[in-house]
Symmetry: C2
Subunit: 381 residues, 2 copies
Amino acid sequence: MDHAPASPEIAHTHVAFEDGIALECGVVLKRLVVAYRTYGRLNADRSNAILICHALTSDQYVAETHPLTGRPGWWETVVGPRLPVDTDRFFVICANVLGGCMGSTGPKDPRDTDTVESWGIDFPPITIRDMVHAQKRLIDHLGIGRLFAVVGGSMGGMQVLEWAATFPASVFAAVPIASAAYHSAQNIAFNEVGRQAIFGDPDWFEGRYQAHGVIPARGLAVARMVAHITYLSEQALTRKFGRRLRGGQTLSLFGDRFEVESYLQHQGSSFVLRFDANSYLTITRAMDYFDLAADHEGNLSRAFAGTPTRFCIISFSSDWLFPTADSRAIARALNRAAANVSFVEIASDKGHDAFLLDEPDFHRTLAGFLAGCAEHAGLAA
Amino acid sequence: MDHAPASPEIAHTHVAFEDGIALECGVVLKRLVVAYRTYGRLNADRSNAILICHALTSDQYVAETHPLTGRPGWWETVVGPRLPVDTDRFFVICANVLGGCMGSTGPKDPRDTDTVESWGIDFPPITIRDMVHAQKRLIDHLGIGRLFAVVGGSMGGMQVLEWAATFPASVFAAVPIASAAYHSAQNIAFNEVGRQAIFGDPDWFEGRYQAHGVIPARGLAVARMVAHITYLSEQALTRKFGRRLRGGQTLSLFGDRFEVESYLQHQGSSFVLRFDANSYLTITRAMDYFDLAADHEGNLSRAFAGTPTRFCIISFSSDWLFPTADSRAIARALNRAAANVSFVEIASDKGHDAFLLDEPDFHRTLAGFLAGCAEHAGLAA
């Protein structure tokens, strides 16, 4: 199969930091680009900013049509006028993560200022903390001393926790959703399956596929397929597809005979058109390495010692990728740190992806928490 | 990567039926070979036979060293002298499933009696019912009119249910373990990920890899890896591996840094040495197509109308591939059919694979059920 390289060049709104960034792994990137989008208006005292942190495969196009796919923003149910993250009231910022492929510095970029050769597989390992440091540069650049809130689901929730732990004075309120303070062995295992699928693709070329003008499309699609299953629930898959067959009843070894199969294949094949395989490897690795307690002598509550931040931890009952137990562990650690924390498990049968879907209880919880915090922060209604 | 073809030729004990077998899909295989192993002794009135039905990737080597891998039989914890399936008392039979790669007719075999060219990808689709029909030929050949019991886990449990539904007079007792009466959308989805990984392998050659002297090793390994995760539980993975790193602490994008990764990679790479990719496709498809209720006007209890068989349905609490709800649905259908049925959920945190592991409660349940049935069947103790 021939495939055009993913992600034709698009001009993303961005800021470039010519002094670069020092990464946790020791490498210094000589130049740092942070691509971002904003919604709503920053108020006069710069106190109404909400940073949204995106998940593994989403990006900064939160609440507008995606420039590459033409599809709606990934959180248009949550972010917008009179929505839970109300852009009539708040100034909303979302940055493409460091290591991503939507304009922020990542493996697709030239490895040096005087070459066009891309980093590819040689892009240094990135951590969740590196992502947060890059976002902090953006926030400083925007002249925002304290974020009213940092909000994110899944890997976005990991960034929220890291923000609160690393820059407590800069985070008035934090909402980690469907997330965890570390990546579990099972989640690492699923990521590893995806990575091995990419490595096994004939167009992988040891990570130098860009130089060959191809992408490891089949491997990346398989990685997306297995990940996608983990974002749903058995109930959601059963409700959506059950055992419905496409076409006839004749037994056949091939072809997308079950609807769930063609759905998954579509998820895989559309994903490779918008996402870079080396970014996928970089970001899944960052998730695997995330272990906030390990960074604080194995004691998660120490990460939040003396925190002034107000937390709202949200999980979904049918999420088996980041189960409620993971969120409860965060809430317990925050309680031990005497933090201001509320914890809500939303009853839903939609699995991990529930945070992206129409879940009225979740939306009410988020809106209510932000409204309460706004009052405490003295933000005008 | 160069790989020798899987499964060097081994002489498996077998019986050949030269009149062949008519498959559900309409194809007639001109010759049927059933490879099998037996343990214990058939009694004088041929009433003490237990048929073990194996799961997706196991085979007839239940209780002895595997001739290919040199490893212990897959159910040596359960089948043997004074074990739950007591070979001092019962005559135990296990046949490699039709479509398999350990001696029974399957994709590796010549497609016709006058050619050496193998079926490969053209092997006709097989159903669980076809597997059971092939086993029935073996049982008839052995001169056994009624099996004392049919026992199996996972896909083996599907065969147990099909046996009871298709040949009720031939099954005194039936024990489907960690199984279901149909494959769920989520399970089909996981199988599809594995199939797509195989199809994406550069050594796949549209299923004609045997003619090229290679095997789609990387794709088949990825298929095994993702399946293997579903056989375990999050708790089991956490207990076994947690977030332990192999080697040092330095962040690195590559290498098997987490123990769970190298474990999975080992599972994948050892699997491809013993299993044929086309067999994997054939058998996963058979599981996907299994839907016993659909074969009985959508009413599972009709599959068992008037059944004389005694059933013991066993599930494991942490099995998320074939969750307890699936077993409970079988038990309910049997109750509606006024069948003799007991249903036991074993508390275990070992996931689906619990049926293969040292689970004393499970072993006691199985032994107790078989002992009770033996009494009712008038078998000498």
